[in-house]
Amino acid sequence: MALEPCTKSPTATLPAATATAELPVLRERGQREVFCGLTGIVWLHRKMQDAFFLVVGSRTCAHLVQSAAGVMIFAEPRFGTAILGERDLAGLADANEELERVVEELLVRRPDISTLFLVGSCPSEVIKLDLAKAAEKLNHRHFPKTRVLNYSGSGIETTFTQGEDTCLASMVPVLPEKPPETGETAELLIVGSLADVVEDQFTRLFNKMGIGPVAFFPPRRAANLPRVGKGTKLLVAQPFLSETVRLLMRRGAELLPSPYPFGIEGTTAWLRTAAEAWEIDDAQFEAAIAPSVTRAKLGLDRYRALLSGRKAFLFPDSQLEIPLARFLSRECGMELIEVGTPYIDRKLMDAEIALLPEGTSLSEGQDVEKQLDRCREARPDITVCGLGLANPLEAEGLSTKWSIELVFSPLHGYDQAGDLAELFVRSSERRRRLSV
């Protein structure tokens, strides 16, 4: 489980360059100020428009998803909570029947659902409600019209973005098998949810290079699953998908370790990883990316001057902290005071860590009060943190950037590199403008 300290990760899968092994990491186990994996529902339900997410949990869980979604009520949402009551806690058999009843009720009202995710929570896990078994039973009744899957978004097992990992991992076993007659023919699978517009940009670039076929996971429709098998090569777009990658590899796919496509450097490295696997020659690769890179440089230049030499402090939240820190330091010239992240999975993070400046202070886990003390002491120019901390820090005169915005915005790839930098510029720029 990725919540374990990084030292327990199997070292065998580490890429050759492990110069970072000695990198000092501050490990803290105090109060964490991080969302739980249920939060992933907020973007996953938008990404997969034919899926419904049913949390099996408490009123707290319902309130969390609603608060994280900012009460974005457009219509009946594609997520809900089966709230456990005292009657359910009394006896387990009862809870299972109740869940079936709720699902029936839901499916009658929403016949358009092709995939239903039962999402486990802390309470459902503590009372050992077996959602896998429940899903299996429900599938007997509703498959193929509706497929029922289950995963955990609980706060005792998952942090914030890990909810996407557990969700995608639950889909891996039902991905269609790559037909044997395709042999080991290479197919590229991009793993991690991206904004649709970013997917389209990457697709155009891969086409130009002659890399293909390319599929995206998660797909835009949950019913439209990509296939996997021997020859599938995984290019991971989000740095928090440990379990998903592990399961995809078990199905024969091969991981192409790479930095993540944030900023120009990250995007180039990421695309090059695929190009190398496809043995695309350098000239063709450079030709394909050249216009985008030129454009991105233009977009980024404007902001670099404003960020260069400034100090950044990143609180642990989204798991994007390390790639973002790499971007802020190498492409924007910022100084990194502390890079906090909920957990470090070396297999997925080493290529990034290797790019951090020597001596970067990394922290894993959290003790929020102590970390706030360090942050106040350092007085960074920009602090990346969760929504609960942002206004209090602003009131102390520190500029902040909400980590949740970094997850919700299209920021991957060349054409978003400028936007990414702009997000960090905006709060200080605002301070500069205001004279009140």
């Binding site: 939060t39 994280a68 009460v71 457009f74 709720v102 706060g155 602003e394």
Partner: protein, 568 residues
């Protein structure tokens, strides 16, 4: 197990947070997993608080469960005490911790902290936020004051008539509806009739302030959902009478003053007289400069002025917590001349009172925390104005009906920068503006009604209102309070899976499929001339009228016959 899409109330421990955050010198240690820390953002984002709520979470994980989660409680309590040095420590658990039964309250009590520890065991699987707030306030007050309770039978000494009466204001919390400003209004009302404020709690109070509660002559129970339990205990223990009228609206404010007069034994007649003395419609320079605190509201005159004639009989649907819903019903009907076409609450604890108000208006109250049930009730009632919570605001937007927010749950826009109380004279002014503004102006409405075919009167056009509801188009995303600004494709839901358009009030014209009657071309054309906000209702009524009479095809005449038979 209960299927929930959106909730009106959070879990009970969020209620505790509302008390702790409102106060000073209190710290709350909550035994809970990391995800539960989301609750901090309710306060720092929605209320734009410049401090984190005074809450420490143990944030236990799965790997801790086999081990010593109890030890984590002790560590959190110890560290929180050392760091924050509160006067009182609240200790409780969230839904998950309730299941592992560490009994954090007893653990903390066993640690012999130098300050009182209040243990809060709030059943998370049966109770909700307001109840949690109410229990927390009660337990806090009770633990601090228990040793001061006089022996049974002790008679409270009469107030020395030379000393002005003193009142406690009980109930305003963090994340309440306009509590910050209501307090100011209530203080003004009290000053006007010669009553001093003793303690305001929980908002702004320290635990040592709570110790002074018994010094007051009576308690004002400002928000019964939060304060009634504590007020009743104070009444029993210290013989402090409770003032129960909630001064929202002109009539209720007068009643509030009257009730205080009776409870405190003071003469309030001049304040009451003053509230009725003049229209405040004089623009004379001397009058304006002397009218900073007029002791009266503009609502009565604004409501009687001819421009407001168009408010007569406007159909209004009300939903919220019980306190605000009941107050709104009275204002809407007695002070603005609206017609109540629906009322409800999610506060089950106060369902009886809301039912009684509904019955007075020949209605059945909607007692529910299922927002889909509320949405269906709104659609069915076809109101011209919805007064509700943040949820109803979205419901109304989707149905194309004007709306004003009158109750929690709230959003960032319901915590305005300007002074905008609901209580007292100024509160009534604010309410007049907030409720009337979303409606179409009088003459404007006539013009649109008369000249519907003017090409500039687009469907759903609402003249001075920039947010013209438009049925064909799904409603856009709200400016999102917690700031998650850029969720992609906000309209996808509404298109793909929204309510069937028929359920919305607006322009869906087709045939009355369910009733088996159809519309003639001229019938449809005439129906289109009816203002869109009542069209759905007229359509349904007409179809029912036709099918009841065995008419299979609705003509212009059927439409008017139905109108004559049914009325507006």
């Amino acid at each position: 197990m209960e299927l929930t899409l959106w909730t009106y109330e959070g879990p009970p421990h969020v209620g505790t947070m509302r008390i702790a955050t409102a106060m000073e010198g209190v710290h709350y240690v909550l035994h809970a997993p990391q995800g539960d820390t989301y609750a901090d953002l309710l306060f720092t984002m929605i209320e734009r608080r410049d401090h984190r709520p005074p809450v420490s979470y143990t944030t236990f994980q799965a790997r801790d469960l086999g081990g010593d989660t109890a030890e984590m409680v002790k560590t959190s309590v110890r560290e929180a005490y050392e760091r924050f040095k509160p006067q009182v420590m609240l200790v409780g658990e969230s839904c998950t911790a309730e299941l592992i039964q560490d009994q954090p309250g007893s653990l903390a009590k066993s640690m012999n902290l130098p300050v009182p520890v209040v243990s809060l065991e709030l059943p998370a699987y049966s109770k909700k936020e307001n109840w949690g707030a109410s229990e927390t306030l009660y337990h806090l007050v009770r633990s601090l004051l228990l040793s001061k309770v006089p022996p049974p039978g002790t008679i409270r000494p009469e107030r020395d008539p030379a000393i002005r009466p003193k009142a406690n204001i009980i109930g305003p919390t963090a994340l309440g509806f306009r509590c910050r400003d209501d307090i100011q209004e209530v203080i003004k009302l009290l000053a006007d009739i010669g009553v001093d404020v003793n303690v305001i709690a929980p908002m702004g109070a320290t635990p040592s302030d709570l110790l002074r509660i018994p010094d007051a002559d009576f308690n004002i129970c400002l928000y019964p959902e939060i304060a009634l339990t504590a007020c009743k205990w104070l009444e029993r223990s210290f013989k402090q009478p409770i003032v129960k009228t909630v001064p929202i609206g002109v009539g209720a404010t007068r009643d509030f003053i009257t009730e205080i007069g009776e409870v405190a034994g003071i003469d309030v007649s001049s304040a009451l007289r003053r509230s009725k003395a003049e229209t405040l419609g004089s623009w004379n320079a001397a009058r304006i400069s002397s009218s900073a605190t007029p002791g009266a509201s503009r609502l009565p005159w604004y409501s009687r002025s001819v421009d407001s004639t168009y408010l007569t009989g406007k159909r209004v649907f009300i939903f919220g917590d019980a306190t605000h819903a009941i107050a709104a019903a009275r204002i809407a009907t007695e002070e603005l001349g609206f017609t109540l076409v629906g009322i409800g609450t999610y506060s089950r604890e106060f369902a009886r009172q809301v039912r009684a108000v509904a019955a007075d208006h020949g209605l059945e109250a909607v007692i529910s925390d299922d927002y889909l049930a509320v949405e269906a009730a709104v659609a069915e009632a076809a109101p011209e104005l919805v007064l509700g919570t943040q949820m109803e605001r979205h419901i109304a937007k989707r149905l194309g009906i004007p709306c004003a927010v009158i109750s929690t749950p709230i959003h960032v826009q319901d915590v305005p920068a300007r002074y905008s109380p609901q209580m007292g004279w100024e509160g009534a002014n604010v309410i007049f503006d907030d409720w009337v503004h979303p409606l179409m102006m009088g003459l404007e409405e006539h013009l649109i009604g008369m000249f519907r075919e003017d090409f500039e009167f687009a469907e759903g056009h609402m003249s001075h209102l920039h947010t013209a509801p438009h049925q064909a188009e799904p409603i856009n995303a709200e400016p999102v309070a917690v700031g998650a600004s850029t969720a992609a494709e906000p309209n996808a839901d509404a298109k793909a899976m929204g309510l069937a358009p028929e359920a919305s009030l607006g322009t869906s014209l087709g045939t009355g499929a369910e009733t088996g009657v159809s519309w003639t071309v001229d019938g449809i054309a005439e129906l289109k001339k009816i203002p869109f906000f009542v069209r759905g209702k007229v359509k349904r009524n007409t179809e029912k009228f036709a099918s009841d009479r065995g008419i299979s095809s609705i003509t212009v005449d059927t439409l008017y016959e139905a109108k004559a038979a049914i009325g507006k």
